[in-house]
Point group: C2
Chain length 509, copies 2
């Protein structure tokens, strides 16, 4: 691992495992440490670091504040202050089951007994890994992927992720992780694709852990997300486990609430044993249940406005990328854009990617580089757009007037840099939003599919269409970057599942 | 293990570890399952099970409700909804440091950087075990002890507890757990005793994990609790880690907030890595901070009234035990009494102890039996008194009038049974407390030390004094039950630390 070279020396007070845990460098940790010490704030620290690395939705705080301070949220009763069911209190699991039944479009009413609620999906990953795997077993995951899962399944549970692009032998593969919408690609998979993935898992006796954390974060009305819970029947229901949570779709990662839906009672029983380490305060369980059952607020206030703001922020960022000639994957979902900065690397190496990442950081912009997602090709970055700095007010003047010139991208070390984003840090305070005055000027251009996915400057839509068409299919597998290397993409287009199968076979040898 | 004989058969969906986790039977699980399905409620289920097994303080809900519904508790700001420091937010760690400085009587101001806050002390035990031990390493603990710690350090972290009474070889001992006030003995150790324990730990290079969860739950003004944080200096400060939480002292186990204080920065760094699995919602961190800083409420309202109610409940239970001739350990701390029911066993075996425990359960009273605390001698029970059923209103009439006769203990299967406690389930509803009219009639008798610790009927205080004096010293080691067996107590009185040392040496062979 290139990142985090300066690990601390071993402590005599910790065990080998403890030292390994302590010295573990989350990818990008260096950036988050700097960010924690120098956060941007519109008035208090206008020169601080803008965080476009953490996938959080900061666009709807006003809506959330209004809802979370209604009187029903300040509720205490004796049982909420006492120990309770470690899989989540019954009233909450019932609300989650109703919520998922409705928003996942389940053909049957989902059962509250199949719901496990813990303090975040990281905890659920950790627990599921602990009970379906033995130490040193592995879980299959297509790359690139949300890299924190590596730590989620390893730190406590000693389970390894088997990356599709890695050569690795001797591991027992127990499960495959599927993300829909995908992180970091923001790709949305069709029901047919998900069924194909689930059939593959079934044929290989693999658990399928389906991460649908961004299921309500789709901001194009013409695009429909399909939960696997909407399927009439699952290929292998006792090995299919669906994760969801409030962090992304309800923009509250600080509330720590993740849910798992599984028909496998044995798994639920095993998770209940570990649940004592991952409990949610009773009062917060009440609040979450209140929120999930308030369909009027969700459907009429929160979701439509959230989608509008996400769409505007996405349009702004992608417009910027386009004007800079930076290729990116244009998808109307999730809170980030997967962008190709390979042409800004002096050579194709992860050290160079890290240098570029540090260059952004020196200019007070924190991104996530591809290495953090185990991307096999250096030069890709995940850029989070769901922050007010990127789109709040003053945008049209900025684009139209003198700001247009000021906004031109600054080069340093010969690299393009999002200085512009800093210049939006001005006008607004955090509570006085001006969304209404903002119009999405570039939406028509986006709809034209004016997007490039290789390392060159934008081409006309026509010349790109065939490339996009090809890539779109490859991307479905989520390991499209690997397959996009010359050797694999030259002519051959191996069927996804065959690739999985071959790799799985190799891993099991 | 005798308890929980009917473990489920292995699941094909889980790994070996997963099956082991699922099949793990928490001691007393059978009782808690029945309790969950048939909880006593004054109006809804007056014939349900009374839980005197779970150590929760249910005496002060009215005070807590009033405080937790004040407007300062309904507070949301953007950062509370976002990811944050996994050791606890700065504002909370600062409040915890101030709180501990004051209530532990620390000679110096405690440092917020030394505080780690997680969702409960079980999580802290799990994390500390993970980073100071390698898999299969062990932690030394005197028995009897709060048995859940066995699971806390084992389920995720694969660390074993080395009981002082067990023969066990080949383990590497890394730490010793000290509880003060003790659970289940409710014993309060003096600073000199704690220093002796800490010196022992230091001489053997052991971490000392000091559990002070009940530090404010001492309800006799003449008794002073001394936190190890009040010591001028610790023998081995970098290996001394002090745990505290809100579950017991603030009667809110459902809020999930535990704290660790340690000067060892390396340990804090390692814990921070695992903290992502044990996060507390931002809004609850705010609430906890508000509570801890409200010294007027804590000192003038909550603590004095809580102590009064605990003292009354304790007096009632101990009075009952005394009138039944049941010996017990009389200590003005914690939420339970450690009682000796050995004379009700037909033979001295854990199967018989379990039979007795089940007999109580059939009569809808849930206790904790000694086996759950790894007690080496069968027949001891922990009885929680901090529940309103035991002492609410009507008590004086009950003791004095016709109730006195009705209240006589019912025998079934030849066993004494706390039927009486059920008869107090009448008068009060949950919100209309009548504490003011309750006077502690038996306090003078308690003060006389009228308490017996062997299996016979109560004797006059005089004849007991020498026995109590002897036992009091032995009890200090927390493994007094072991030493109280005929072989050990006949004449010899080995020095505590020598026993520890010998056992440690044996374990390390």
């Amino acid at each position: 691992m290139v990142l985090g070279a300066e690990a601390p020396s071993p402590s005599v007070y910790l065990s080998k495992r403890g030292n390994s845990i302590r010295q573990h460098q989350g990818t990008l940790q260096e950036g988050f440490v700097q960010y924690a010490a120098n956060k941007y704030h519109v008035t208090d620290n206008p020169e601080g670091i803008i965080n476009l690395g953490t996938s959080e939705n900061k666009l709807c705080y006003d809506l959330l504040h209004a809802r979370l301070t209604r009187p029903d949220m300040l509720y205490v009763e004796p049982s909420l202050l006492q120990y309770s069911d470690w899989t989540g209190r019954t009233f909450l699991r019932e609300e989650v089951a109703k919520f998922l039944t409705h928003y996942c479009g389940s053909p049957k009413t989902l059962n509250a007994d199949n719901v496990v609620v813990m303090n975040g999906c990281g905890s659920l990953f950790s627990c599921v890994a602990a009970v379906i795997c033995d130490p040193k077993d592995a879980i299959l995951i297509p790359t690139p992927f949300y890299g924190v899962i590596t730590d989620d399944v390893d730190l406590y549970s000693d389970v390894k992720l088997f990356h599709v692009h890695l050569d690795c032998e001797g591991l027992i593969i127990r499960a495959v992780i599927l993300m829909n919408p995908h992180n970091p690609l923001a790709e949305i998979y069709t029901p047919e694709e998900m069924i194909a993935f689930l059939e593959f898992a079934k044929r290989n006796d693999l658990h399928a852990i389906v991460d649908e954390l961004y299921m309500l974060t789709v901001f194009d009305e013409s695009v429909t997300f399909h939960s696997v819970l909407s399927l009439d029947s699952l290929p292998d229901p006792l090995r299919t486990h669906v994760m969801w949570g409030l962090s992304k779709d309800f923009a509250m990662s600080g509330i720590r609430a993740g849910t798992l839906y599984t028909e496998n009672r044995e798994l639920v029983e095993a998770l209940a044993q570990l649940g004592c380490f991952h409990g949610i305060p009773g009062t917060v369980q009440h609040q979450v249940a209140q929120l999930l059952q308030d369909r009027a607020w969700i459907d009429n206030e929160f979701l439509p406005e959230n989608r509008r703001r996400l769409k505007a922020a996405h349009s702004f960022l992608t417009g910027e990328l386009r004007s800079m000639g930076i290729p990116f994957l244009d998808r109307p979902a999730a809170l980030f854009v997967w962008a190709d900065l390979r042409e800004y690397l002096q050579e194709s190496s992860f050290q160079e990617e890290l240098n570029l990442w540090r260059c952004f950081l020196r200019h007070n912009v924190l991104l996530s580089c591809g290495q953090a997602f185990s991307c096999s090709t250096p030069g890709w970055f995940r850029i989070v757009f769901a922050d007010q700095h990127l789109h709040l007010g003053g945008l049209s003047q900025h684009l139209g007037g003198a700001g247009g010139e000021r906004g031109r991208l600054v080069f340093e070390d010969g690299l393009t840099f999002f200085q512009k984003s800093q210049e939006f840090r001005l006008v607004n305070d955090r509570t006085n939003y001006q969304y209404a005055s903002y119009s999405i000027k570039n939406s028509s251009r986006i709809a034209e599919g004016l997007v490039s996915l290789d390392g060159e400057a934008p081409k006309p839509a026509e010349s790109l269409e065939s490339l996009i068409g090809t890539l779109r299919n490859q991307i479905r597998s989520s390991d499209w970057l690997e397959k996009n290397t010359p050797e694999l993409s030259a002519g051959e287009d191996p069927e996804i599942l065959d690739v999985f199968k071959a790799l799985l076979h190799r891993a099991r040898k």
